[in-house]
């Protein structure tokens, strides 16, 4: 298992290295002068000269790349063209909001999706099954931003059940330790702050979690159906085990293998969905930062973001592989 982790981490370094070349080439491959491309319509001769000097566009390409790589290794992702703020510190500041949202969405998807998928499979063809299958189809086809807007208008603006935007009521004087507001409230025993942050989280998490939820319901259902017809489940029944023991130990556990794989793949989709959700609910996370960066072609931010996402994605999938090894002894590397 340890060998697996070390090997995967080594592979991760290689992937990031390759990605840095691609990202470097991406900016250089833009038609015309890279400095002009970076500045876009606002380009002035003075601005171009300044950018050229700052980024070293007049140096040889390999030297430029090495400089770029050297900065990356030291954690210097450059500064935003729009705000002049260092990319990394902005990330650090905004990342907790995105993580909190994504974890909430994924948690919702797992906690609701797995039991729902399981029950649908056990009552195949029943009302619950049809509802789950139909509902999950709806969950996949309805775009995240549409669902986000819909939830916001119906449940918060119209019915007033949930706050419309932001992460916490501005009137609450909350202490922020980790940047995860719900957790902060629990750590500092400011229960009202925690509760308020949780209420703010409900609608964005519902919107963002809809697609992973739908996918998890479907995968779990299909997987449970398959395991139910496996020979070893018949053996378990022949042993005269209690129904609950068979369900938990012999059906669900085996059925979770494909589900955990899907979870890893969902992590990527989740981050792109977070961009839309954060924009609709005015949450200051990575997503809305990126939204602005794309609009304004803020290349250092985009480059940094892509590297960062690749890192997160790879780490999440490593985590999934490790969990896979914990569930299924056959994939463990001795």
């Amino acid at each position: 298992m340890l060998t697996l982790i070390v090997r995967r981490l080594g592979l991760l370094v290689l992937v990031l290295f390759g990605l840095s070349i691609l990202l470097f080439a991406w900016v250089r491959a833009l038609p015309g002068d890279p400095a002009r491309a970076l500045l876009g319509e606002k380009a002035t001769p003075a601005g171009i000269a300044e950018i050229t000097a700052r980024y070293g566009f007049d140096r040889p390409v390999w030297e430029q790349y090495l400089t770029y790589l050297g900065r990356l290794v030291r954690g210097d992702f450059g500064a935003s063209i729009n705000t002049g703020e260092p990319v990394l510190s902005t990330f650090a500041q905004r990342f907790p909001a995105t993580i909190e949202l994504s974890v909430a969405a994924l948690l919702l998807a797992v906690v609701v999706g797995i039991p729902l998928g399981y029950l649908a499979a056990r009552r195949r063809g029943g009302l619950l099954d049809n509802l789950a299958v139909g509902g999950s189809l709806l969950g996949v086809v309805v775009p995240v931003f549409f669902l986000a807007v819909l939830l916001k208008y119906v449940l918060s603006i119209w019915l007033g059940w949930f706050p419309t935007s932001g992460r916490q009521d501005a009137r609450i004087d909350a202490t922020h330790v980790t940047g995860f507001y719900v957790l902060d409230g629990l750590l500092t025993r400011e229960w009202d702050a925690s509760w308020d942050a949780l209420l703010h989280l409900v609608l964005p998490a519902l919107a963002l979690g809809s697609i992973p939820l739908a996918i998890i319901v479907r995968i779990t259902r299909a997987s449970v159906l398959e395991v139910l017809s496996d020979d070893h489940v018949r053996t378990a029944r022949a042993k005269g085990l209690a129904r609950g023991v068979i369900s938990r130990r012999h059906v669900l556990r085996n059925a979770l293998l494909p589900v955990s794989t899907t979870l890893g793949l969902q992590a990527g989709a989740l981050l792109s969905g977070a961009v839309l959700t954060e924009t609709v609910f005015s949450i200051n996370g990575i997503g809305s930062y990126l939204f602005d960066a794309v609009n304004q072609l803020d290349y250092p931010v985009l480059q940094g973001f892509i590297l960062f996402i690749a890192l997160v994605y790879a780490l999440v999938n490593l985590l999934v592989d490790v969990s896979y090894g914990l569930i299924d002894p056959r994939v463990r590397v001795s």
Partner: protein, 349 residues
């Protein structure tokens, strides 16, 4: 002398009595299929009884019906499966589960898929003990070790913590036999227990199974398509064809004097080492699909060389042949060799 000694009902009662068992599968949009069409047989305590037949004759479905392991949906089961006097078909799922694994256990055909790949062998052995005994954790573990030793698995202490994929097929089947024996059941149903194994270890595993069964006095229903397996292990044999028992006899009688034309065909089809070199195999012609409905006559008729119009009446009974009645004359009771055949083989002997 002419009357059998009076015996108590309990002593005379067979351990397992399957009576007129019928299993129909129905699927939406398809005509229902009858897999088992009135099977009756019985097993006495400690007896090893064979159910023999080719693929599709209903032998596996019969065993699953006895165990109550058929899928609930789209399955109709009728008849009676009396185990020690209780009709298992009338028990609630919970009460049946309480007896499965404890009073009657099963060994399945494919050891490669019949163990859960993500649980340790120890867990898969001890969970059946946990379900049916009061043993504590340590005692269950000790019992599991003992069981693995009894089925001939080397280094059982290490194996307890291992997973199925770390064992060969033969070893896995030994584990499954250990699971079946764990609670000292009174009946074991073994459904083609060696079919999926390498030819070289089939005999080992079969020997192990029969030895353990004989030692512990457990009765066994052995389901097989292999007459060689029957010859080596069974006390009694029931030959199944198209969902019904067509012949029932002691092992000796069946091999010495097969009565039903299907049985005699099967025996003639077994290749012999002492046959002249180059002599052709003699398969039973046709396939199971060429069959008559039992209500219209003998299902085997389309493949039978001896059949005539007399075989085209429904309700042919499983009964002793005239020849066997003659052999039995002067002894108490009925002959225990029965065949469902209008023109039985060896009618003149």
């Amino acid at each position: 002398m002419s009357q059998p000694l009076p015996e108590t009902a309990a002593a005379r009662r067979p351990l397992l009595e399957v009576e007129d068992l019928r299993v129909r599968f129905s699927r939406r949009g398809q005509p229902p299929t009858t897999a088992v069409d009135g099977v009756s047989f019985s097993v006495d305590a400690g007896e090893v009884v064979g159910l023999v037949g080719e693929s599709g004759c209903g032998k596996s479905v019969t065993s699953l019906a006895v165990m109550g392991l058929l899928p609930e949906r789209g399955t109709q089961v009728s008849g009676a499966v009396r185990f020690d006097g209780t009709d298992l078909l009338t028990l609630s799922p919970g009460r049946l589960a309480a007896r499965r694994g404890k009073d009657l256990a099963m060994v399945f055909q494919d050891p490669m898929t019949s163990l859960n790949p993500v649980l340790t062998l120890g867990r898969q052995l001890t969970e059946v003990l946990k379900a049916h005994t009061d043993l504590d954790r340590a005692a269950r573990r000790a019992e599991a070790l003992d069981l693995l030793g009894r089925v001939g698995i080397p280094d059982p202490r290490r194996r307890l913590g291992e997973y199925p994929h770390q064992l060969s097929g033969g070893m896995r089947q030994r584990v499954l036999i250990a699971v079946a024996l764990a609670c000292s059941p009174r009946l074991i149903i073994a459904d083609e227990p060696t079919t999926a194994l390498d030819v070289t270890i089939q005999a080992q595993v079969l020997d192990l199974l029969t030895t353990l069964v004989r030692e512990s006095g457990t009765a066994m229903v052995l389901i097989t398509h292999d007459l060689g397996v029957v010859a080596g292990t069974c006390d009694r044999v029931n030959v199944l064809y198209a969902g019904r028992v067509v012949e029932s006899a002691s092992r000796h009688d069946l091999f010495a004097r097969p009565r039903h034309r299907y049985t005699s065909g099967l025996l003639a089809a077994v290749p012999r080492v002492d046959a002249p070199e180059g002599s052709p195999l003699q398969p039973v012609p046709g396939s199971v699909r060429d069959r008559l409905e039992w209500d219209a006559g003998c299902a085997f008729l389309p493949r039978c060389g001896r059949g005539d119009d007399a075989c085209r009446t429904g309700g042919i009974l499983l009964a002793p042949t005239d020849a066997d009645r003659a052999r039995h004359a002067g002894r108490p009771g009925h002959p225990d060799h029965e065949a469902r055949c209008v023109h039985p083989a060896g009618a003149t002997t």
